[in-house]
């Protein structure tokens, strides 16, 4: 009887999740077949195969779609983990200076050690992101707990300050164009050989699932966590490393997409709740789906030209973000 009472709660989301995965797969297939160059399906499946169509698929289309899926899921997961660790609904790597710091790290590498392999560049960017996020966390712990809207505002300012430093040096050394490419997500230039670091981000997103319960507990506060005999500092460190590496790998490859993670994490929280064991898969799937959809819109709206996915997601995202802010205010008022 007791088991029956708890059964529906557990089985319902599973069916929904499978449906969501199905939708993402459909979007991924659609994404594969949008492009300037013709890639008829029959050429791919006909015996022997059209070498050119297959080449196009493997070198450009598949990497792009994979990059979108990996970025989308890892950015969503990073945002949700951050929201637990900061205990604030409005944080994500682009509202806390994390991404700006990763860009600064990448710029530092470009200026001081341009010959480094791309993986090492990512590690340096991660270290910068980790340091900045940690500093911001210390900063936030000094603000009164009541002002939840102050946290993202402070984060945007903090990111602005880091960005000002980065822009100054980028300007001096004529790297402004690269800088823009790092932060503003654009998947049109993704080719085989240029996106593979995102597998690390995707892997980390999946790895974070093993600590799902611990992140949820951390979201209930430090006292709460220690009461249950868990090491709060270790959970914090693990989470921040994941967030930093995800942000850095996005910056190094296709760029970040502002608000993507924040919106996905909030919508998932509203629908399935904050138990990360349940919410993390949803955030990963919705993040991938949202990014794929934005990319498809950006590629078809003024075909054969493209609008960068960051711009599409930014327009849609900031609208939804504003709605979330106002809705929350209304509920408190």
């Amino acid at each position: 009887m007791q088991a029956a009472a708890s059964m529906p709660v557990r089985s319902r989301p599973t069916a929904g999740l499978l449906l969501a995965v199905g939708i993402v797969l459909v979007l991924a297939v659609v994404s594969l077949f949008i492009g300037v160059a013709d890639m008829p399906l029959r050429d791919l499946v006909s015996s022997g195969g059209d070498a050119q169509a297959l080449q196009l698929l493997l070198v450009s289309r598949v990497p792009r779609t994979l990059a979108l899926v990996l970025s989308g899921m890892s950015m969503g997961v990073a945002a949700l983990i951050m929201q637990m660790l900061f205990r604030n609904r409005f944080v994500e790597p682009t509202t806390t200076g994390t991404v700006e710091a990763a860009s600064l790290g990448l710029l530092a590498v470009a200026l001081l050690a341009p010959g480094l392999p791309v993986f090492s560049k990512m590690l340096v960017a991660s270290a910068f992101a980790l340091a900045a996020t940690f500093v911001f966390l210390r900063l936030v712990s000094r603000i009164p707990a009541s002002s939840s809207l102050v946290v993202p505002l402070l984060g945007l300012m903090f990111g602005g300050v880091i960005n000002a430093v980065t822009t100054f040096f980028a300007y001096r050394y004529d790297l402004l164009q690269s800088l823009a490419a790092w932060t503003n997500g654009d998947f049109s230039s993704v080719l085989r050989g240029r996106y593979e670091l995102l597998w690390i981000a995707g892997g980390l997103a999946i790895l974070s699932y093993i600590a799902a319960d611990r992140f949820t507990v951390a979201g209930l506060g430090e006292s709460f966590t220690r009461n249950l005999g868990l090491n709060y500092g270790r959970i914090l460190a693990f989470g921040l490393v994941i967030v930093s590496m995800v942000s850095a790998s996005a910056v190094v490859t296709a760029g970040t997409v502002p608000f993507l993670g924040l919106i996905v994490a909030n919508v998932v929280s509203m629908t399935v709740g904050d138990n990360l064991r349940r919410a993390l898969p949803w955030v990963a799937v919705s993040g991938a789906g949202f990014l794929l959809a934005c990319d498809i819109v950006g590629r078809t709206l003024r075909f054969p030209y493209e609008i960068p996915v960051g711009t599409v997601a930014g327009v849609l995202g900031s609208g939804i973000f504003l709605y979330l802010l106002l809705r929350r205010r209304a509920r408190f008022g």
């Binding site: 709660v9 205990r87 609904r89 319960d213 209930l220 506060g221 006292s223 009461n227 249950l228 138990n275």
Partner: protein, 252 residues
């Protein structure tokens, strides 16, 4: 038994808790009372190893809380602080299930499920199991957190102002529930409490603090005297007897 030896906590040379030595019983309710800033919550947090003391020692059944592994202690002692995160969208049963974390490590067994169900029933939350915490009233939410602490199934339970944000009806119901829990489950419950009358009626033992020191430890009858209360709270409190209980009136 919880033994507190010469416990001191100083912030910038100001002693918030000053050389406190106490022992808390194996069962029953202990109420810690005192004016604002007396160091009650700090003391409670140090007992539960949430705050490291400047000097002194806390032993829970002989285990030094600063030296003992968190996971070991979490099976003997549970603390519920005030200001719990209400923005978290967890269901009641999910929250209570986290109370089993020290035992289950995140993979609840049949035994864990039984404890979860019992704790939920004990606090009368059966109909609210699948509701999110942010959809509950303040009293229901407080009960959900207490259910979580009970599911943790520890001998010692520390509650920091559990009556905060509860109205008259729910505050009295909460104290009755704690009394019942202490009696039925033979637990040692220590509560920081502002209302001396709840301490007078429901507590077996009272600890009164002022300026970081323990000024009285004993039965509630020792506390509920006009001279004693005036000394602790620095205000006039008249004591009257109502149906066998001594009640303090500070409204006049």
């Amino acid at each position: 038994m919880i033994e507190i030896r010469n416990l001191t906590k100083t912030y910038d040379d100001a002693a918030v808790v000053n050389d406190v030595s106490l022992s808390l019983a194996e069962s029953g309710i202990t109420a810690i009372v005192g004016p604002n800033g007396a160091g009650k919550s700090t003391l409670l947090s140090m007992i539960a190893r949430l705050i490291a003391p400047t000097s002194g020692q806390v032993l829970v059944d002989g285990l030094d809380v600063q030296q003992t592994q968190g996971a070991v202690l979490a099976k003997r002692l549970a603390i519920l602080k005030q200001n719990n995160q209400v923005g978290m969208r967890l269901t009641v049963s999910e929250l209570v299930a986290f109370g089993r974390f020290p035992h289950s490590g995140g993979r609840p067994t049949v035994e864990d499920e039984r404890h979860i169900d019992e704790a939920i029933s004990y606090l009368g939350l059966d109909d609210l199991r699948t509701r999110f915490l942010d959809e509950l009233s303040g009293g229901q939410r407080q009960r959900a957190f207490v259910a979580m602490v009970l599911a943790q199934d520890t001998k010692y339970v520390l509650l920091d102002e559990p009556l905060n944000s509860l109205d008259m009806k729910h505050a009295a119901a909460m104290m009755k529930l704690l009394r019942r829990t202490a009696d039925d489950l033979k637990k040692s419950i220590t509560v920081v409490i502002h209302d001396i009358n709840f301490a007078s009626i429901y507590a077996d033992q009272v600890v009164a603090m002022r300026d970081g020191r323990v000024v009285l430890q004993g039965e509630s009858a020792e506390l509920m005297q006009e001279a004693v209360l005036q000394d602790i709270y620095d205000t006039v409190v008249q004591v009257r007897e109502v149906e066998g209980h001594r009640l303090g009136l500070h409204y006049l």
